[in-house]
Symmetry: C2
Subunit: 413 residues, 2 copies
């Protein structure tokens, strides 16, 4: 591919997160020296609050901070982002907290934060000469890739396990790209995707061969929170942990904003949230380990069910550096978390949101999180996608005949 003319905005190179080796921008994702993950390095110039505020009402307002072309907003993409930051006084009250916000990413085009990372991956992939947007997935990512490619007018190729729920098949297939079910589990699908990426040189698997670009999309959550708070960082933030990338990138965003002088440099604490049935990072945190020991996931929070999280060690770094913690909650607490958020704020979260609310509650109860300090939690997806999780408990109050007598007798008047 001809990269000489590539415009990736402020991105200047790829550097190895482990050994620091530097590489030219391109479709690389692992260090040739040590196999460590590659990260985007930048040279930010001319980014001010005013320049951001003059931008579109989506993630492209932060294009000066992302590895995307400077005219990125002129090309169709799903234009995610700038989702609501909701003041959650009733939830706060129920937890004995003072000042709580929910960053509600269910408002994105396909109703999860994956639209952010996919949009950045798509923009970078086009610039790097890729022709097909692809991924292995079991849910939200499949929706986001198929939708973004459709909107961009390019081909998508999504690979999922053949036993995926019918519902998730429909919500991806409707966008009309190439959609392959694979007889195997997610690990099999993932391995096959890597093999195909090695053969099909113009296929960008967003979470494989263009992962360094893709992952940067999560920074926009951090930028938006700061801007929506009036260019200010919260005291505490609680972030769900799957691969761990979202948490580390929000921290990266906060650090960049401080360095650029866009927000005041003040301490903040980052907390991670996992489901107990897939809590390798929480376990490492609690045991004081630096290494994250892989687990076999067994939880209803399937969008967080990554047993061997690539960014787990970096999550531990961030959490320990900022004075946060990593907590985990049982599946029953996940369901309670979903109901609590819905019942207090009218926000119906997918299981990942239930994990985050459940962990918030536990962190307040244990004293790890300060109930007086301003706190933001991330709702990364939509309850409409995980109805099965709450089906057993989300039941009607009563069934009656269509008469006033029966209504009166129900005791509900």
């Amino acid at each position: 591919m001809a990269l000489d003319a590539a415009d990736l905005g402020p991105a200047t190179s790829l550097t190895c997160r482990e050994c620091g080796e530097s590489y030219e921008l391109g479709p690389r994702y692992a260090c040739e020296q040590c196999f460590g993950p590659l990260e985007i390095a930048y040279d930010f110039t001319g980014v001010t609050r005013a320049s951001i505020e003059a931008g579109p009402r989506n993630i492209w307002r932060y294009r000066g901070l992302l590895p995307v072309p400077s005219n990125v907003q002129d090309t169709p993409n799903t234009e995610p982002g700038f989702t609501r930051l909701v003041r959650a006084d009733h939830l706060a009250e129920s937890l004995g907290m003072q000042r709580l916000w929910v960053k509600d990413d269910s408002g994105n085009p396909t109703h999860s934060f994956k639209d952010r990372v996919v949009a950045v991956a798509l923009a970078a992939a086009r610039e790097l000469g890729f022709k097909v947007l692809a991924c292995p997935s079991t849910g939200n990512l499949a929706n986001a890739v198929a939708a973004a490619a459709a909107r961009a007018g390019i081909r998508s190729a999504v690979f999922v396990p053949a036993d995926l729920e019918q519902q998730k098949i429909i919500t991806t297939a409707v966008y009309g790209g190439t959609f392959v079910t694979v007889r195997g589990n997610y690990d099999d699908v993932n391995r096959l995707a890597s093999e195909i990426a090695g053969e099909q040189e113009d296929w960008a698997f967003v979470n494989v061969n263009v992962r360094p670009y893709y992952a940067e999309g999560s920074k926009t959550l951090g930028y938006e929170i700061a801007e929506q708070l009036g260019w200010r960082l919260p005291d505490q933030i609680v972030v769900p942990v799957a691969s761990g990338s979202q948490l580390t990138k929000i921290d990266k965003a906060f650090q960049e904003l401080i360095r650029l002088g866009l927000v005041e440099d003040r301490p903040y604490k980052v907390f991670g949230a996992q489901a107990t049935g897939c809590s390798p990072v929480a376990a490492a945190f609690k045991n004081g380990h630096d290494v994250v020991r892989p687990v076999k996931p067994d939880t209803i929070a399937k969008s967080l069910a990554i047993g061997n999280p690539a960014d787990g060690p970096y999550v531990l770094d961030v959490v320990r550096r900022t004075g946060g913690a990593v907590e985990d909650v049982t599946d029953a607490e996940v369901v309670e978390g979903i109901r609590l958020l819905a019942g207090t704020e009218g926000i119906f979260a997918e299981t990942a949101g239930g994990v985050t609310v459940g962990c918030l509650r536990k962190l307040v109860a244990s004293g790890a999180l300060d109930p007086e300090a301003e706190t933001v939690i991330i709702n990364s997806g939509d309850g409409l996608k995980t109805l099965d999780a709450v089906a057993p408990v989300a039941r009607p109050s009563a069934e009656i005949a269509p008469t006033l007598e029966d209504f009166r007798a129900s005791g509900l008047a």
Copy 2:
């Protein structure tokens, strides 16, 4: 209820749409003289582009044009609105059109335009002294009422037919209000709701006894479209028709903006879209009738399945006055419409959106709609809520074993 102190912003009175009789603001909805529907009358003062643009990024930026308290944004509500207006070049291209936009209301908090009308109903109902937010519903409205009441910290009471799909039960019950299933069809539920409204004087049934306020919420779709186009009206707009209220209120919004000098006074055409299986307004339009003859609905577009649409005659007035038309499409065309929008723009609409896209296509083909003129279509809800409609056709491209050989053999490389 003590209405003397009620602050309903610019609203001044209720007037009968049929006979013009005027009433004080209050919890009325039908004319005592002729039983005609009541509409809000206003005295707008001090509303400018600048005053609107300085407001919050939700429908409350238009509070100066709505029957809500002037400090409405200080009280928790679901804060819907300011959803995306998406430039749809690929859809336009596939239909041979020049300049097409999709107003995508699936981005609202519970993913349908009902959040708008419920938010206004809630704000007015609180001000009028009601204590419970209620509705009869079969879907989107139930979600919106339960969510808004939860967020506002007041009680909800939602009534649905007992044979409603399990999925719709869950998405309402999760918010935790009073939720009653009624052994009967929707007509039975609706009748029961009116009876209860007559007995429970502090229950606001949003679509019954506070309907005049509720219906005004749809005006915000019109305001937003004009503002998002840069304070300009489109040449043509295609709106789905259930009760017909959304279409007439968008027209009302456009007329208000013209009268206030916020947009240029230029002609626009309003088109209505129905499913053939419930197309009483389209039938009346095509037959040149002024009266809408009720039908028994039989269509997959259940959110539009109102056989006796209250605002049907007013839809005919608007469409004829502006030079538009009312079209209808079969259920197969509805599904095609959903797939076309998803495949060209990455927007997964519920069946109502499929109706709108299908009618757009038919209107262009027939020449009733000018493909060269700037056109806006409304997507009023989310495909995640009507998965069954597309399940038979949204299928994978292929199923393979997890090997490169099988992938190559699939012919998908």
